[in-house]
Symmetry: C3
Amino acid sequence: MTDHHTKVRSALDACKPGFSLPKAFYNDADLFEADIEAVFYREWLFVGPECEIPNAGDYVTLTVHEAPIIVLRDHEGEVRAFHNSCRHRGSRLCDKARGHTGRLVCPYHQWTYELTGELISTRYMGETFDAGQFPLKPVHVTSVEGLLYICLADTPPDIERFRAEITPYIRPHAPRRTKIVHESVIVEDANWKLVIENNRECYHCAGNHPELLVSLVEMALPNDARFGDEFRLMEEKARDWDALGLPHAPVDGGTEFRCIRLPFREGAKSMTLDGELASKKLLGELTEPDLGSVRAFRIPNNWHHVLSEMTIHFRVLPLGPNRSEVRTTWCVHEDAIEGWDYDVKHLSHVWIETNDQDKRLAEENQRGTRSPAYEPGPYSEVSEFMILNFLDWYKDALDAWLSGASAQQQAAE
Amino acid sequence: MTDHHTKVRSALDACKPGFSLPKAFYNDADLFEADIEAVFYREWLFVGPECEIPNAGDYVTLTVHEAPIIVLRDHEGEVRAFHNSCRHRGSRLCDKARGHTGRLVCPYHQWTYELTGELISTRYMGETFDAGQFPLKPVHVTSVEGLLYICLADTPPDIERFRAEITPYIRPHAPRRTKIVHESVIVEDANWKLVIENNRECYHCAGNHPELLVSLVEMALPNDARFGDEFRLMEEKARDWDALGLPHAPVDGGTEFRCIRLPFREGAKSMTLDGELASKKLLGELTEPDLGSVRAFRIPNNWHHVLSEMTIHFRVLPLGPNRSEVRTTWCVHEDAIEGWDYDVKHLSHVWIETNDQDKRLAEENQRGTRSPAYEPGPYSEVSEFMILNFLDWYKDALDAWLSGASAQQQAAE
Amino acid sequence: MTDHHTKVRSALDACKPGFSLPKAFYNDADLFEADIEAVFYREWLFVGPECEIPNAGDYVTLTVHEAPIIVLRDHEGEVRAFHNSCRHRGSRLCDKARGHTGRLVCPYHQWTYELTGELISTRYMGETFDAGQFPLKPVHVTSVEGLLYICLADTPPDIERFRAEITPYIRPHAPRRTKIVHESVIVEDANWKLVIENNRECYHCAGNHPELLVSLVEMALPNDARFGDEFRLMEEKARDWDALGLPHAPVDGGTEFRCIRLPFREGAKSMTLDGELASKKLLGELTEPDLGSVRAFRIPNNWHHVLSEMTIHFRVLPLGPNRSEVRTTWCVHEDAIEGWDYDVKHLSHVWIETNDQDKRLAEENQRGTRSPAYEPGPYSEVSEFMILNFLDWYKDALDAWLSGASAQQQAAE
């Protein structure tokens, strides 16, 4: 093992079950590099809703740590992803967040690629140049019922179990027939794991999220010990949703993912400040507005709220040991009309405020973990069990990465 | 010794007595880390005047490198200091520079602490949770006649000799019965030692500080070779101060601290642009305005001017190898009335200008030491002897830290 | 070899001839340090046109990585260069980009130096102080026919071959009798080698530089395979220039430098948007306006366009692995009159736009090389052969530096 691997192994050995991670995991540059290698360059990452690129030639770009990526729809209608770096001198091909193009033309020397990645035109490269040797480098991509995921690894981990489990929950909401009506990108001065930990519990909601709690019930499971009065509500809704054929029980995603349908607070129909629907036009063929929200989470970087009339998608990308980007997209039915069916301010207000509150919480959490006196503290098993799941997965991921590195080295010796 | 320790030892060995430090001490990230460990996490550090937290529940915060600290007055009136990091998940408890509170409530999940540090309330932590195991982590704190000092070490070094020596000089000025009327916080792009070196000599004053020299005599000792004409002035004042029972001779603080009362230039009574008093109301029970200033300095990070009607306190904190924060606070009698007794602009003008001039000097000094051609140069024994004292102390501090680290390692073997 | 040297050697060994450099050369902090040591602290670097300091006491400053430098004209009229760091405590002596002074006085403690570097005045340094031991540290400097070059090495490499070869090309344009009429300093978020690579080919011009292509012919040699129709133009001009006694054929500068006179596009007389002369007053004793431009390049950091009525000089300095400064200066005849002979906007427009376009190209190139999927790609032998020359020189320079370090170490053993 290299020094770097030894350091990661020591840090893992210092973790105490049930307690927050030691300082290094939230602050150290080497541990951050390990996160990139072991997690962000190996796992399936959420890109955004597929409805962002409905037509052939549509593309979106994102940067995973140092890797610029382009995701597009080719002329056959297939979604493809490539490393966004020209095979000539490496220049980024597309510098825009999104756009539409018939071919990919490098702005530097106009090397031109088909939307399949094939290099089809260069100038001055001589007769012996074999363009076939220089296609764009492909990246694995898949649409899980309208949610786009990419994987930068050579051999991606399984995503089929996730697809199989969540499809019944979200297909009735027809995400492919939505459109993005609002997007927010914020930068938080916090390690990506603190951003995820913040999302994995609602223990902090009561003290921080007045707008969100208009609609959100602070429970994570139907049998949540804190559910109390609202337990009745869940039972009622469960009967309604059973009648509609809409699944709601928590799926068994292990530590990899989570999916459940939960009701809103009594009287609320959506995640808006007044609890009213964000869009008059319901998604897909739905006719019943009061469907609570399907809450889905998938390691390492995304969660979703799928409602009767709106979907909200969250994506976290690491920018540095103490810095992360959070992108949120709000979607409604593709035929909904602005001003008539929905108002952007009304539909986005709650999560814009909530994201901003979470940003401050994550940043204060970060500042405290930097202290030489910081010592991992105990999670609440009742209200922070999803963090425990997340960290179990995370520690396993680092462990698997270290074992793989170790096996590679032995093979080389 | 680790590589890090070996590097620090080599750097120390390369120091030439009487000459400025080699480049690494002002620029290298590893040497900076050594400064944090050997100095800022071990020595007593000035926080600010105690009058900033006069009442139970008042608090101030500061950050020593990566350590957020809160200093407060508890319900018994005792001053206490804690690491400002919740024992749950490490979040900073207080994000404000100062405030007032009955209890410390973490903004994240509302874990609640008494002002004694005791954890008194949590939610959802289960029946087996023992709150007694999770008090805030205490930090040593003491008030030296109204000047607050903290120490982050487990076993703090002695501060009693400092207390004993400076108390007779500043007690007549009753710092506890003052109030802060102005504060400035500036960031200098310079190593903290260059900020201190700049303060430890007035060799640079003539060419740079016109406002300061209205009042300040550029001598450091009564027998300063440069004193010349003003020697008579010191003799006269010494007789007056002896008659008032006010000490003035330099104390023997070794390299640890310095304290002396020196007169202002003929005609000046205070550190103002016109030499007039900064406040009509004299401090404590003083009746004589013409008391010069008690100049006190203490390693590693603070100096003070204590006048008949005003006190000025300076605190330096390291932000990085090339970056420091300087906080200055101006205090007058707690009963003085703004607009009648004092005017903030009048009382703060000289040191605001002087600080700004010193910032530029320290930053230019920093830029020059970065050069590969920089070579330590000779200090003037006449006008820079206090820098030599400071650096003697500093080198001893690093040496003691290295010896301690070495002893620890041997014990472990 | 140290770890650092081993890393550089491994990186060099990974280079593939004819392909762009591996990722580390454009991104790694250790490789950047190697560039500083092996290139910027060893080679002759362009400072600017000598006409910037026409009179005794005139000076300009620049910073080469961490080394602040001052270049001045002394009272005898000789050009000298020094490390811009006081021998007392290292402070930078001059903080301005340019100025005029009779002596160099340190702003900190007024140590005063003659323009020859001699320390002539200090205060308070005692009787045993020997000022003769503390002159400013000199830096090698030379004017190559009015172009100032410095070298920070103890023993500079040869520059006489460069001087001998380019003098006949530029002397008729009399650069010493020009004046700077415009300067631009821009920062590009790109490694310095990407900035140079960008300059070393016009493969990218057609797609990016509409303003430049009004005048510039995209060929690099008279027999350039792409020259086509314009070949006739070169033949005609060659006859004219031969008649005028003005050299135009490419000189043999190996990988060290390049110099050639090439015509502009038919109808253009200068690098302006309308192709008209930038100044009515021709340089030196020239009488013929249609002289194309002498294009000179010298490793590691400068290129020049010398026209009949204007000179344009480009200087690149490294600010970090991903950050460089580009300074451009435009000069016309010293007697030319603004508003009558020239208009600053008219003369600077083309290269201001072109620099800005190149900045974006270099930055996108940089972003792409950061990708873990980036793989060195093939240069065009036809249109990027000057990059191949540049990289051959660069790799040799690193190699020589490593060999020198290795020899030093063996001698020490």
